[in-house]
């Protein structure tokens, strides 16, 4: 008997056969395959035809627009407005560099080498500080631009980074308070978490922007943008506290007791035994939370910030570009999609890797 007959087919071969059998094996599955292929193919082809083949790309050719193809000339002409908002034109390099600093911070935090609380904290503080110094400018001896002048993608990234940076320690604090042995502290945290989680984000942000000034003395009022960021961070923290709670629950009680038996105090047990494991357990859900936060920053357009959604609206706000709103919205949607999809896929990959390593 030949050896070849009992060697099982390779994994690729098996999955190829399964694919063919399941997709084309019977008349019914063949029919489904054909229908799906035709419908998806038709959608993909019409989109490709509109967006690429018949599209107008340069703003010099704008007269050719409106003949059945996409008019990407609007992006060519207005992309600076969409990306940087009303930031002074000559200083756009600063806004671009600042946005890159935030993106670099996010990308670097994805590297396993950075997964230590201290390194991550340092990285985010550094990234955020370089953003702020570049955008504000006066400390670096550049012309000062106040927060009113910030806008577009840069503002969206700023809100995102500020919310995550402030919200993470707040979330950890709330999670610790919720686990506290003191009932008043516990009830306080539980009440706050449950309330904020039941309210729509828009109402929380609106309250921070419009209502909170009534309660504060004028010296504490601050900028509208900072009030909204703090409220947004509180929102993030209340959800993140629940993520951390899941991480705390995964740690066997015996470990804490072993720490106590060794004579370690509350903070040593927390910092050296519990928290490192909590972070590891909570990592996939934390990434998910960060992705959701990035998506939710789009809400600030409702309370009057000039984020990428609002700057996009302005980009087709003139009579010349008004017919090409679809192109602008697709451009903005594509930017969001690339960020959110890649972060989300990374989170999925991490989850898979961690479940494998736990086996």
């Amino acid at each position: 008997m030949a050896v070849a007959e009992i060697i099982p087919p390779s994994r690729f071969e098996t999955s190829r056969r399964l694919f063919l059998k399941r997709g084309f094996g019977s008349p019914g599955s063949l029919a489904i395959s054909v229908v799906v292929f035709v419908v998806l193919g038709w959608i993909a082809w019409s989109f490709l035809d509109w967006a690429v083949l018949r599209a107008v790309w340069r703003q010099e050719n704008v007269e050719a627009c409106g003949q059945g193809g996409a008019c990407w000339a609007v992006i060519d002409a207005r992309h600076r407005l969409i990306l940087f908002g009303t930031y002074p034109f000559g200083e756009h390099w600063r806004s671009a560099l600042a946005a890159l600093a935030i993106i670099a911070t996010v990308v670097l935090s994805c590297l396993p080498a950075m997964w230590q609380a201290r390194r991550l904290a340092a990285l985010w503080v550094l990234g955020f500080a370089s953003y702020y110094l570049l955008m504000e400018g006066s400390l670096l001896g550049l012309p000062q631009v106040t927060t009113d002048g910030w806008g577009g993608l840069s503002l969206t990234l700023f809100l995102f980074a500020a919310v995550v940076l402030l919200g993470m320690p707040m979330g950890l604090g709330l999670a610790l308070m919720r686990r506290s042995e003191m009932p008043v502290v516990r009830w306080f945290a539980m009440g706050l978490i449950d309330t904020i989680r039941s309210l729509p984000l828009v109402t929380t942000l609106f309250t921070a922007a419009v209502v909170v000034p009534l309660f504060l003395p004028s010296w504490l009022e601050g900028d509208k943008i900072w009030r909204v960021i703090i409220a947004f961070a509180l929102f993030f923290a209340c959800y993140q506290a629940e993520v951390f709670r899941g991480g705390f629950q995964a740690i066997p009680k015996g470990q804490v007791e072993a720490g106590k038996a060794l004579g370690l105090g509350y903070w040593s047990i927390l910092g050296r035994i519990v928290l490192p494991q909590v972070f590891r357990h909570a990592l996939p859900s934390t990434i998910n939370m960060v992705v959701v936060t990035f998506k939710e920053t789009a809400i600030v357009t409702i309370i009057g910030f000039f984020d990428i959604l609002a700057s996009g609206k302005t980009a087709f706000g003139t009579a010349e570009w008004a017919p090409y709103y679809i192109e602008v919205y697709l451009f903005v949607a594509a930017i969001y999609w690339v960020f959110i999809f890649s972060l989300g896929q990374y989170g999925e990959y991490l989850k898979r890797r961690m479940t494998l390593s736990e086996r």
Binding site: I32, S33, S198, P217, K295, K313, I326, A333, G344
Partner: protein
């Protein structure tokens, strides 16, 4: 330490209240709920029931609440159905179906909801008048003025009552715990039968049972007119929400032990029967808790209606604040209402979950 927290909280509250009092007197604002009786004098986009600009603030806010509950309820139903469909497609063995479903999920889950709503609204508003309307078999139309759908020949108030009756029937059926398909059939059949019977009795004298939209001159007559704000909001929340529900459903279906499915196959059950009698009932136990969270999210998501001018509770509240200046009272009412709505949904799903748990012997 606890005492310190109590003292600090009390101090902060006291400081906030005294500041609010100081600021209110400085701005000449009055506090209290007397303004609820006053007429509003402003108009807004959508209402299910009769309204005028002379309505009191209380009544206008009530209409806003009704709109929020209406949109939220419709979206909960549509996302759940659509999400189950897509989630099941992601779970079946056919590669083309899986691919199509995952393309859908990856596109609609990864773009912010508010962007989808604004985008959809912009497309709809550019669609042109009724004469350029897109027609679906000449019974439903979509144009820049909104969607025209065929409907029963009854007044809006009766229609709302029918919706509530259908909701009550659904709850009653869940209580009675029939087999999944029979329950679904009873619910659909019961709701439809009730609606038809009511329409037979209550329709205007001498008119037909159904009211179909028809193009007469420059506008449509008959049928149900859905304004574009409402249409865009419901469509956007449904597209976005069902991508999430699909992931929840897929996760639930994947958790059903393989042995159960194989047992069904050994008994010679068809694939549909395995899905409806084994997989879905088993999966529901892990689906319901995250699905309940998704329902709460959908209720909260109706607040983005303000971005496209749909008069939900948040929109009405913001308008009322800018017109009456009663900021604190209105915000407090808004928050308490949302707490109440979401707490009720949470109670309902907890109760549903408790009912669906396996009985351990």
């Amino acid at each position: 330490m606890q005492a310190a927290l109590v003292v600090v909280t009390l101090l902060a509250v006291w400081g906030a209240v005294s500041n609010a009092q100081y600021n209110l007197t400085r701005l000449n604002m009055t506090s209290g709920f007397g303004f609820l009786e006053r007429g509003t004098g402003w108009n807004y986009s959508f209402s299910l029931v009769e309204r005028s600009i002379n309505d009191s603030y209380a009544y206008t806010l009530f209409i806003g609440l009704l709109n929020t509950l209406f949109v939220g309820f419709i979206c909960i139903v549509t996302t759940t159905i659509f999400g189950f469909l897509i989630g099941t497609m992601r779970d079946v063995r056919h590669p083309a179906l899986r691919f199509a479903a995952s393309v859908y999920v990856q596109i609609f889950r990864n773009i912010p909801l508010i962007l989808q709503a604004i985008f959809l609204y912009a497309i709809l508003i550019h669609m042109g008048g009724p004469r350029q309307a897109v027609s679906l078999g000449d019974v439903a139309f979509l144009s820049g003025r909104g969607a025209m759908l065929p409907g029963l020949n009854v007044s809006p108030t009766v229609a709302v009552a029918l919706l509530l009756a259908s909701l009550a029937l659904g709850v009653a059926l869940i209580l009675a715990r029939p087999v999944f398909w029979r329950g679904l059939a009873l619910w659909a059949g019961g709701s439809l039968g009730l609606a038809l019977a009511v329409a037979l009795v209550l329709r205007p004298e001498g008119e037909s049972l159904l009211s179909l939209p028809q193009l007469q001159g420059l506008r449509f007559t008959g049928g149900i007119s859905v304004p574009i704000e409402l249409f865009a909001l419901i469509a956007a929340i449904t597209l976005y929400g069902s991508a999430y529900v699909a992931e929840i459903v897929r996760g639930g279906l994947a958790q059903v032990p393989r042995g159960l499915v194989e047992a069904g196959q050994a008994l010679g059950l068809s694939r549909a029967a395995i899905w409806s009698r084994i997989k879905v009932p088993m999966a529901l136990r892990s689906i319901i808790p995250p699905l309940g969270n998704q329902w709460i999210f959908m209720m909260k998501a109706t607040t983005i209606g303000i971005a496209i001018g749909f008069s939900d509770l948040f929109y009405i509240t913001v308008n009322a604040i800018s017109q009456s200046g009663q900021t604190l009272e209105l915000i407090a009412m808004l928050m308490l209402t949302f707490l109440a709505i979401n707490y009720s949904i949470a109670l309902f799903t907890n109760w549903l979950n408790a009912r669906l748990q396996l009985k351990e012997h």
